[in-house]
Symmetry: C2
Subunit: 394 residues, 2 copies
């Protein structure tokens, strides 16, 4: 009998990836993934960028390159973080990863021994929980309200627990709740962090997808002690198929991430890095993101308004000001995972919320994505879903 | 003070990757990496394949795809393993990874808890040791001779140790020794494995790069109990910059690898997979590999013959029949890591052997790569190295 590592008992298939496999069928209206709108990908431009790479530096593009990543891409990342997140750093503080999922994986492995504590927002991104589980930590959920993590609750936990090794947060348009922290809360958070000196993983895939209001500074931009590890990604602002994200961290922490990257994967794809850097050089990422914000903002409106019209008033949800998701709370007696099966019979898919809680005990929530479906399917899908919900109301 | 996970104490920078950073300078004659010859990359063909992908399925190429990998590429992998390795399987048994380094990383994490035992050949690939170290196992080195792992020694260890969770081997043109197991040894190995039912990681990056003699069947092709996990890669037969390798395994074992892949990285690059599949469809991988074998075989001859002429007779090395490396044994009183620094002053680089032993205690060996340097640099570099060695002889 084959004996697997004990961590494998904690890893099941991700609910999202399994739903995505199901939802590959064209007749399915899927609100399940966090996928960008494919019709907005700059396919022709990317073909031109690929041609330029192959013609100017084809041999280098096909060869191994450094673990840290392609220097021109890292410089573009540095420039972008300065412009968008108020983070002022240099290429020496950047490691390019194969998507920010890999950054999450490295984060767990750099900081977490078995039974160490990781603090997360409740709910939190299930892909991060899954990545961290490979280190067999204990999760403690910090309670949240509409403004994100509640700082008094965070401090209560830190006062009590001395085995907290890292804190994982998504302060901008959180996955799955779409909540965003105010500046005051960010400042209070950094005050607490500086007092306890706990490393923070700040995951920011959605920050640039803001429909209203002012951008908030990244926690990393407020970090005076080198405690914050910032994870960025091109998946939501350009394209996920290249699998490119990055880690921005200081000194010894980034050294550890680099060692982990060498051990785990050597490097991100050379050709992905060069093509992406060339596209950014040849075209206009700001203009592209502005287009995404316009389209996703309209889809957000359409989904929110249709849900307002169609869902029973007992179903609660807030209007996100950015990001990709609407987070829905059903009456407590309903189980969103059970409902999901009925919805699938109507060819509509969403992600049940239980995976976003480490213990899986909250059953009455689900996550809806609005970036990946055209207008007519958003309306039709929400209507079908409303019917399924209504049929299950007491 | 930031507390890192205990595994981080075991991870230092890989000696190879750090040497590669040094050896990026154009004046260095580097025998250090395991890099393919860039002048043989089919750059123009790959540009055409990339264009075809963007024109036929650009949106899908830029989007997320499945964890398991792109089905047409997995079918090509299945077909190739049938033709080259006598492995007969289906796409359901293939997981595409971001290079086989990621397959090594997943292997450790699927099987190894802290203090579990992993058996390796002595010496063994340092990148694998590094990947496995993230799980904090104990390594036991199985003694080898010119024909690879000694089966009697393997059995002795298995009789005694009950915490052996996995065995890692490179039966074809091993890295670093270039030794290849005979058919008899492979059969004996499988007999032992079947008796003890221990999972085996068979790493085969170099098997197709054979200069003489007959190809040996893969262990996986002799595997009747689903115990062998086969790792393949496109890095050495096509190009490493796409970061594409694969895991071939059966049933529950492959399920675990898929769960690990979901947690660690979601998937390999969609665009890398589609471009590689398209190139294989449009062009002739067999003809390309034949060209590599011709060129690398000549370089092997040139390096071996020059070493025969230039190195003192106290320095031992065998002529490899395939792969990328010559493995060199200095007199016992010499330290190849110390010598490497002197060689670098002469602008020549190799990889000291100590990293290929988990305890780092064997100091008098080093690894020479012949695939990445043109003829004139091979001759000049070996001559300079011979001078450094001679100057350090007692």
């Amino acid at each position: 009998m084959i004996r697997f590592a004990s961590r494998m008992e904690l890893l099941k298939g991700s609910a999202i990836r399994e739903l995505l496999a199901l939802t590959a069928k064209p007749e399915i209206i899927s609100f399940a993934g966090g996928m960008p709108a494919p019709e907005l990908f700059p396919v022709e431009q990317m073909e031109k960028a690929a041609n330029a790479v192959m013609e100017e530096m084809g041999q280098a593009a096909m060869q191994y390159s450094s673990t840290e990543g392609y220097v021109p891409l890292r410089q573009q990342i540095v420039d972008r973080m300065a412009a968008k997140n108020n983070i002022h750093t240099t290429v020496d503080n950047i490691l390019v990863t194969s998507g920010s999922q890999q950054g999450l994986d490295y984060s767990g492995r750099v900081f977490l021994d078995k039974d160490d504590i990781v603090l997360i927002e409740s709910p939190s991104y299930l892909g991060a929980l899954n990545a961290f589980k490979t280190c067999e930590p204990r999760f403690i959920e910090v309670p949240t309200d509409d403004g994100g993590m509640i700082m008094e609750e965070l401090e209560k936990i830190l006062e009590k627990e001395d085995r907290v090794k890292m804190i994982y947060v998504i302060p901008d348009f959180q996955n799955p709740s779409s909540r965003t922290w105010s500046l005051e809360r960010r400042q209070k958070f950094m005050e607490i962090i500086n007092k306890y000196e706990i490393p923070v993983i700040e995951d920011n895939p959605y920050g640039e997808l803001r429909f209203e209001g002012e951008a908030q500074p990244a926690l990393k931009s407020l970090d005076t002690k080198g405690l914050v590890v910032y994870l960025g990604t091109f998946s939501k602002i350009l394209a996920p198929g290249y699998r490119l994200g990055w880690v921005c961290a200081d000194g010894e922490i980034l050294d550890k991430y680099n060692f982990m990257a060498q051990a785990a994967a050597l490097q991100a794809s050379t050709i992905s890095q060069m093509e992406t850097a060339k596209w950014i050089e040849m075209y206009d990422l700001d203009a592209h993101v502005a287009k995404l914000v316009e389209v996703y903002g309209k889809r957000r409106d359409l989904m929110y308004n249709t849900m307002k019209e169609e869902f029973p008033p007992e179903v609660k949800f807030a209007k996100p000001t950015g990001g990709l998701f609407l987070w829905v709370e059903l009456p407590e007696y309903m189980d969103a995972a059970v409902l999901a099966k009925e919805a699938l019979k109507e060819n509509v898919a969403y992600v049940p919320g239980e995976g976003f809680y480490p213990d899986g005990n909250t059953k009455n929530t689900f996550r809806m994505n609005y970036s990946n479906m055209p207008d007519d399917k958003i309306v039709e899908g929400v209507k079908r879903l409303a019917k399924v919900i209504k049929a299950n109301m007491k």
